[in-house]
């Protein structure tokens, strides 16, 4: 499953790019992220609880960041294991483009869900993934802007 979307953030590209590499900002942005720790250069472990309706799946995830294309391109890939609920593999390419209002992020997320979630919840996975991806960037923008305002005061 591939999801594509754009989001405009009223901050300059370097700020946005740096934030994408910032574990604190990431933790605040990832919906349901209960824990995130840096385990190496560009490597993180996260526990993410995905909830939709009655379904609750707790993914233990390994994430690898690839900032080498920065600040134009930020890449990440990872996998998550939610035990009986299933598991996920995926990655994202986020293109950052400077414009008058700040930075335009174009993201392409590629997620494969397997296991029980895919078996019985397939009709709901796409919508939920889309929503979570969107939520990430909404949170991200919020975290960034509040961080900015905090820094300014």
């Amino acid at each position: 499953m591939i999801l594509k979307e754009e989001v405009q953030i009223p901050l300059d590209r370097n700020t946005v790019f740096n934030a994408l590499n910032d574990p604190d900002i990431l933790q605040q942005s990832i919906p349901g992220c209960e824990e995130l720790k840096q385990t190496g250069d560009n490597q993180m472990e996260a526990r993410v609880v995905v909830k939709f309706g009655p379904v609750k799946a707790s993914f233990n995830s390994n994430v690898e960041l690839d900032p080498s294309g920065g600040p134009e391109l930020f890449k990440l890939s990872g996998s998550g294991d939610a035990g009986v609920a299933g598991f996920a593999n995926g990655g994202a390419n986020v293109h950052l483009q400077e414009n008058e209002e700040g930075t335009l992020l174009t993201y392409e997320v590629n997620i494969d869900i397997s296991g029980k979630l895919a078996q019985v919840g397939s009709r709901l996975i796409e919508g939920t993934s889309k929503r979570l991806a969107k939520k990430f960037f909404t949170n991200f923008e919020e975290a960034l802007l509040s961080g900015q305002s905090a820094a300014q005061t």
Binding site: G53, A85, G121, R123, L124, R131
Partner: protein
């Protein structure tokens, strides 16, 4: 298939249920008919620590029709909706829709409250409620409030209901005109491949009231305001139906699943809606 463990609560009044839910918070789920929740629990995709069963709250089980206003308690079952003659007179589309939900056994258990509250895009009642312009009553720790069905659904399983609120009642005005709930499904018991609820009222000039809503064609039910408006403005004709369908199709966003690819669903949805409008108009 065995669920995880949980504590079971059966409050006997709504305030007791609301209080329980507030106390137990995130780890509690309200259970009505249970036919969506229990299978998910058996698959262990849902593992609530507490279940709050509403079945003992008799105040949630009544259907009252007062003049043109219909109020249906959340614990009224699909089966009750089907057999209630006064409701059939007031809003025959409710029976037509309820009969197309699941199968007899499930309809004896499944409730209108559960069906509209859980936010599953496959459920049939939400689109019907949008078509009827129903209002949902929510009761939570801060008291009671109402939300229009047309404002209630945000995404799959995400609604305007706060986690600590219980949906207690749906209310809507009796409808007088033609009606149709058309549903294409793979077999009895299935969610819709595409379904459409349509209400049309005929008057001397044409169509005085139109309401159209769609099931399982996006991650929420879709109320088709423009399409409804088209029919009211231009009357019901081949061309206005075509325009209304085109307009409604602009709002849907189905996903690929075992029922078929999105492209097929879009096509089927247009056909189903066209039929529903014609059927409703013929009955108007």
């Amino acid at each position: 298939m065995i669920t995880g463990t949980f504590e079971y609560h059966q409050p006997e009044s709504l305030p007791a249920a609301v209080t329980l839910l507030s106390q137990l918070g995130d780890e509690a789920r309200v259970i009505a008919g249970g036919h969506s929740l229990i299978p998910m629990m058996k698959l262990r995709l849902a593992t609530p620590e507490h279940l709050i069963d509403l079945q003992a709250i008799d105040t949630l089980k009544s259907i009252s029709i007062d003049g043109g206003s219909v109020r249906v308690g959340a614990m009224v079952t699909q089966s009750d909706l089907i057999t209630h003659e006064a409701l059939f007179t007031a809003a025959p589309i409710v029976r037509e829709t309820a009969l197309q939900i699941a199968d007899p056994q499930v309809r004896y258990m499944g409730t209108i409250g559960g069906n509209v509250a859980n936010g599953d895009p496959g459920n049939d009642m939400p689109a019907l409620m949008q078509c009827l312009d129903a209002t949902f009553t929510l009761v939570g720790p801060d008291g009671e409030r109402t939300v229009a069905a047309r404002e209630f659904y945000e995404a799959a399983y995400f609604t305007a209901r706060d986690d600590l609120e219980i949906l207690t009642e749906v209310s809507f005005s009796a409808c007088t005109g033609g009606y149709a709930y058309e549903k294409q499904k793979r077999k009895i018991g299935d969610y819709a491949t595409a379904a459409a609820a349509v209400l049309l009222t005929k008057n001397a000039d044409g169509c005085s009231h139109a309401a159209i809503a769609l099931t399982n064609l996006a991650d929420t039910p879709i109320y088709c305001e423009d399409a409804s408006q088209q029919l009211m403005t231009h009357g019901v004709s081949d061309s206005s139906i075509r325009d209304a369908v085109t307009s409604a199709m602009g709002q849907i966003d189905p996903v690929d699943d075992n029922r078929g690819p999105a492209e097929f669903k879009k096509h089927a949805a247009a056909i189903i809606l066209d039929r529903a409008i014609r059927n409703a108009w013929a009955r108007a």
